[in-house]
């Protein structure tokens, strides 16, 4: 029992969050290391459909109840705690997402076990759980050992490959009755879909950013296609805003906005200090610039020193291929 691994599967409108597959993949390996089983946990009003998609797990427990319709941290917390108290898994993996932030520390307190946040790596060493937490904006990592052999781990998106968690195998689903008490002081009201019109580039996870290297307004189409393929908006350096090719709200930099996306792709941007000031804290920076000496390569993590008109269409094509 105390060798099992549980993964809390996150889903919205019938779509399972990518991080859940990443956790299922990693959970499988942890369960093997512990000599236990991998269980997926799905909560919701209609949880079964999502449960069916978790074939990687040895068993998928789903709890359905009206109170679990929208995400209400208290009701979900109670349902999860009840389930975990009973099955007592050694490791519970929760995504470090909005919902996961509400669930993981709460569950740890309820079960009386430790919690590790921002987990980017995890291993079992002689039966001991060892997790690596990425702190200080990823600048420092802490490797911690968990006392007592049980833990809730709040896992960062992108830390583990999602492939390993996806499976065509029919899932062994099992409906579990909700606990008697799901009373909550929180009421879920409604979902608010984003308005397409007003993109706030400071809130985006991915940005394709374009600079004067694009040369002509008509050429913007080339980068727009890449952005569409990646499902993200375009941002820009100041000259493009000055020229009126891009709205002011998309300007990155000293006199624009500061962005910290997970991925920033700078295309035809030289990397002037005034621009860099607004994007240097992006987690991953990719630069495409024909000048190998361009200062943007000093802040980028990955660089492509080539003509954007060759590379960008090729990249778009590859992204499309992969996304299907």
């Amino acid at each position: 029992m105390a060798a099992d691994v549980a993964v809390v599967v996150e889903h919205l409108n019938g779509t399972i969050a990518e991080v859940s597959f990443e956790m299922l993949g990693q959970g499988k390996r942890l369960a093997a290391a512990l000599g236990g089983k991998l269980r997926a946990i799905v909560l919701g009003r209609d949880a079964r459909a999502a449960a069916e998609a978790c074939g990687t797990a040895d068993a998928v427990l789903y709890v359905e109840h009206e109170a679990l319709g929208g995400f209400d941290p208290e009701a979900h917390g109670k349902a999860l705690a009840a389930l975990c108290a009973e099955s007592a898994p050694a490791v519970v993996l929760v995504g470090n997402s909005s919902k996961g932030m509400d669930l993981a520390p709460d569950l740890a307190v309820a079960l009386g076990v430790p919690v590790v946040t921002n987990v980017g790596a995890v291993a079992i060493e002689g039966g001991t759980i060892v997790a690596t937490s990425r702190l200080y904006g990823g600048k420092i990592h802490a490797e911690v050992q968990v006392a007592g052999g049980r833990a809730v781990l709040s896992v960062l998106a992108g830390a583990f490959p999602a492939e390993a968690g996806k499976s065509d195998r029919p899932a062994a689903v099992e409906g579990v009755a909700p606990p008697a008490d799901l009373a909550s002081r929180i009421a879920f009201q409604r979902l608010i879909e984003p308005e397409a019109a007003d993109v706030d580039i400071t809130k985006e996870d991915v940005l394709v950013s374009v600079g004067r290297g694009i040369q002509d307004k008509d050429n913007l189409e080339i980068v727009q296609e890449l952005a569409d393929a990646l499902g993200c908006p375009l941002s820009a350096s100041r000259p493009l805003v000055d020229l009126g090719w891009m709205p002011k709200s998309r300007q990155v930099g000293k006199s624009g906005v500061t962005v910290k996306p997970k991925l920033y792709i700078a295309i035809g941007i030289s990397g002037a200090p005034e621009h860099v000031q607004g994007m240097k804290d992006a987690a991953t920076i990719v630069a495409i610039n024909s000048d190998p000496k361009a200062p943007i390569f000093d802040v980028a993590h990955y660089g492509v020193a080539a003509d954007l008109f060759d590379v960008v269409p090729a990249l778009t094509e590859k992204v499309r291929e992969l996304k299907g």
Binding site: P73, M101, V116, P194, T284, V299
Partner: protein, 269 residues
């Protein structure tokens, strides 16, 4: 959201905003001698970014007539500067917490939550707003731990609040711009991701003036002992290349390399 005016006859509430002091990441962080923590003697402390957002949101609620705002932080470090700035921005009370034992270290949010839970009880709060996270989240995010210890409901990653009688309506942000609206009965702990507007600026002249006239309160707090159950084996700096790793080859090859790199890192693809 608007219309925060309390209905007639409603009592004004006390909003408590715990402010954490965290290392400023603009300065290079160093590792301490035994490799189990950052070098605390060498860091510059500052108000945690998200707590600054929580403070702004609390001030917006106050300005809409909700009640009073009390800012609290643990004594030491930049406590005075942070609290005087909070006063200049408009909080009603600024309180330095004096723990009876050792002050919790930056990486022990369980101890911090226990201490703050005791402080919140002493201050008689109806609502706690604090940053949803900090750069030192090793053992859980503070607002949820604090709520769990107080036995209050909590909502994390909130980007806007509105008081509705004895409840607080909040917007919880999911990824991709999708949000949910929730209503939590008070008392509650809300983890703020972003205030409805950018945190206001406290002009230095105002701060200096307040430093001369106002006095910070001090409050002894006795926190129950406890354990987070984690042992830090080592802290280390991940390896980062100085300059970009340049990808070579024909456009199609470069594109393939790049896409697989991004894919491996769970980025966008």
């Amino acid at each position: 959201m608007n219309g925060n005016e309390p209905s007639p006859g409603e009592t004004l509430m006390n909003i408590v905003v715990p402010l954490q002091q965290t290392p400023d990441l603009v300065e290079e962080l160093e590792i301490n001698a035994d490799g189990t923590d950052i070098d605390r003697d060498a860091v510059t402390l500052q108000l945690s970014e998200w707590d600054g957002q929580a403070l702004e949101e609390a001030l917006l609620l106050k300005e809409a007539g909700a009640g009073s705002v009390t800012a609290v932080t643990i004594d030491g470090g930049e406590a005075d500067a942070i609290l005087f700035t909070a006063l200049a921005k408009g909080v009603d009370r600024a309180v330095k917490l004096k723990p009876s034992g050792d002050a919790p270290t930056g990486l022990d949010h369980h101890a911090l939550a226990r201490l703050l839970a005791a402080a919140v009880a002493q201050l008689g709060a109806d609502l706690v707003l604090t940053g949803v996270q900090s750069v030192e989240d090793l053992d859980g995010q503070l607002p949820v731990l604090l709520a769990a210890m107080l036995g209050w409901p909590h909502v994390s990653v909130v980007t806007g609040t509105e008081l509705r009688g004895g409840a607080i309506a909040v917007k919880q942000e999911y990824s991709g711009g999708v949000m949910a609206e929730l209503e939590a009965r008070l008392p509650a702990v809300i983890g703020i991701q972003a205030a409805r507007q950018a945190p206001r600026y406290a002009p230095v002249s105002k701060v200096r003036q307040i430093q001369k006239t106002a006095k910070l309160e001090e409050m002894p707090v006795e926190a129950p002992s406890g354990e987070a159950g984690l042992k830090i084996r080592r802290v280390f700096k991940p390896e980062i290349a100085g300059r970009a790793e340049i990808l070579e080859g024909e456009p199609a090859e470069i594109a393939a390399k790049l896409v697989s790199l991004l894919k491996d890192r769970g980025l966008a693809i």
